[in-house]
């Protein structure tokens, strides 16, 4: 398996916040998102919350030394609290909020049945085993009330958790995305070309160069 790298050292998309790549609406939207902290919660109850946070850590794991991790569970909570929907659901799935409550309860219950502890109490290996079973649709206990665990895993867990993580500037920094870009946009379109306000990728042996470039993206 590939492993996560510090590929864009020193890059912080937020350094461009007050420059010509961010319009007022973007600043407003991101300010609101960044105000969501790890404990911001309106939708999930205590039991669901502990399962949700553990689940998020398995789907989009974050480095242990990250000082200010992306509040993934809270971002999913925000989506559900504001009832922001996808616009469709498979006929076999309940509505989004109901699906989440049912699915988290079922996952917890499967954890107890198979490993004798709640989902968030399990180690990463056991948690992943359960998630792999859900991924294949092999969790079929009565606790699922007929909801296919496969659909829950793919259409609710993956979709909502992954999109929550990659809606956060910390995730944008990690992948070297240019970020918001209105009204300035971009100029250099060709292979291996970057505008001075885009993230510089660390090439082997030249990490310092990238670091220096990345400190300048907000200027």
């Amino acid at each position: 398996m590939r492993s996560r790298l510090d590929l864009y050292p020193g890059y912080d998309v937020l350094a461009k916040r007050d420059g010509p790549s961010w319009n007022a609406k973007t600043r407003e939207v991101l300010e609101e998102r960044l105000a969501i902290g790890p404990e911001t919660r309106r939708f999930f109850n205590d039991i669901e919350w502990s399962t949700m946070t553990a689940l998020a850590e398995r789907i989009v794991p974050q480095p242990a030394d990250r000082g200010d991790p992306v509040p993934v569970a809270a971002l999913v909570d925000h989506k559900l609290a504001t009832d922001t929907r996808d616009g469709y659901r498979n006929a076999e799935l309940p509505e989004e909020r109901d699906a989440w409550r049912l699915g988290l309860r079922a996952l917890d219950s499967e954890a107890r049945a198979r490993f004798g502890a709640r989902f968030h109490e399990l180690g990463a290996w056991a948690q992943d085993e359960l998630l792999k079973l859900a991924e294949k649709g092999d969790l079929t206990g009565a606790v699922w009330e007929g909801m296919p665990s496969k659909l829950f895993f793919h259409q609710r867990i993956l979709a909502d958790v992954v999109k929550a993580y990659y809606a956060h500037p910390t995730a944008w920094n990690e992948i070297g995305w240019g970020g918001p870009a209105s009204p300035r946009g971009y100029v250099r379109m060709d292979f291996d070309r970057r505008d001075p306000w885009e993230a510089a990728e660390a090439k082997p042996g030249r990490e310092d160069e990238a670091y220096q470039e990345n400190l300048r993206v907000g200027r």
């Binding site: 469709y88 076999e92 209105s182």
Partner: protein, 565 residues
Amino acid sequence: MRIPGLGNAADNPKHATPGDDPEHHPRARDGRAPNVMRIGEWVPMRQHRDEEEVDFAIVGTGAGGGTLACRLAEGGLSVVAFDAGPYFRPLEDFASDESHQSKLYWTDERIVDGENPLQMGSNNSGKAVGGSTVHYAMVALRFRPEWFKARTLMGYGADWPLDWREMWRYYDQVEDDLKISGPVNYPWGPHRRRYHRRAHEINAAAKVLARGAEAMGIGWTPTPLATVSAPHGDAPPCVYRGFCTLGCSTNAKQSVLVSYLPRALKAGAEIRDLAMVGRIETRNGRATGVHYFREGRWRFQRAKNVVVAGYAIETPRLLLNSANQEFPDGLANSSGLVGKNLMVQGNQAVWGVFDEEIRSYKGPPSLAISEHWNYDDKGHGPFTKDFFGGYSYMSQGPLPQLWANTQASAHGLWGEALVAEMQRYNHVAGLKVVSEYMPQERNRVTLADVKDQYGLPVARITYSWCDNDKALNRHALKFMREALSAAGGREVWDQVDDTCHLNGTARMGDDPRSSVVDADCRSWDIPNLYVCDGSVFPTVGGVNPSLTIQAVALRTADRILARRR
């Protein structure tokens, strides 16, 4: 020079009008509508009372309804155009943010089923004044002439009751109105007038497509796009910010919101935003007006004619929800075909990793295209065609959320594998098809038991691929896989299940028994009821449908106006 997005209200929300929330309070009222080209400015709007019998009530303001509203108003008719969505001001309301901009999508509940359930609510469904054109990818292509007679000339699907030579003139007109930016010579199809703006510079992702096409020995070209490469009125040239499918915040994009609708207002049309039409009323076999929900209550607008232009899900839903004693099976449905023959287009992709930095997030997402397989009917060797229909394919530029969701849902990655793979984002390029699926009556829109926030039954959307669709998918994926590898792509993988566009649920034809509307988009059953959007397509072809929807709308307007003279 005025730089959109900088200065006064757009850059200082404190200057915004208090209580101005386009998602909850209509903006088009009190005799004025937003001037979408200018921050904080308005344009006068003619208004009609509900009791006044207007010439045309049009349901939907997207590619079909918005374009038609403009031309009917310019022809001197009184027009009220309804849209369930907000009246956005792109310069002020559009953030560079994927999550936030999902406000452009139709996200009311819909139920999907069938063997290949569709994904709805994003690329294929708009809920805003201007419709899906506010977030479309701007790919502006003409149909291949033979497709208008697919049954007779090519042996599949159904014939259109339209002549391609007449359509060619209307395509000219739309392209002129939208100032399409395109290549000097377009490689496919019969002679056409030159494009009005130069083609956009192509990005690395588009050059990958070019390399692959050249290695495979087929043609390619910069894509004709409805975003201007040189100024047009108040629209500045595209700045290549790459958020096209999430709403253009500079107005370079020629969506209906910034092209036909300002013209419609100027010509005297009224636009009602946040106005959900729930039912069309009929009496003695004629439509008499529409029931709509706005500002907290149901109202009724009288009209001499009604046009349904809600796109291929909401259009049949409204016709079916309007069933009454006169028309118990829904309006315009004596053929039984309302809601049937729903056609999406294949949107499969291949993705690969490149040594070079690609950074495909820069520029419009589909800057290069090959239409080779729309015009080569035979193929050869491993690429011999064993199916009807064709496809085009284009370069891609997914933003992080979309790309992560693709890696998770279509590539099966999660956990460390996902976050590590995502770090190769800047080295990825892909090719994606827009392919021709066959009309099948079993693919359909019906009414579900579930009700929406207006108390109206929601749409149930049933979709299954037929063998021809599957054979086409295989051919396209195989060809693109080779092309991407030949361009230098490594670890190439297939995204096998994605679709785009919605067409066909109220098809046009020459025979009332096998079609819902005639060549003029007028329903066979109710002489003053029209359908004007992608629903009227008998077949979909292998190109994005918007230009054809707009060309049909221009023609429909001419036919309506000619009949009145």
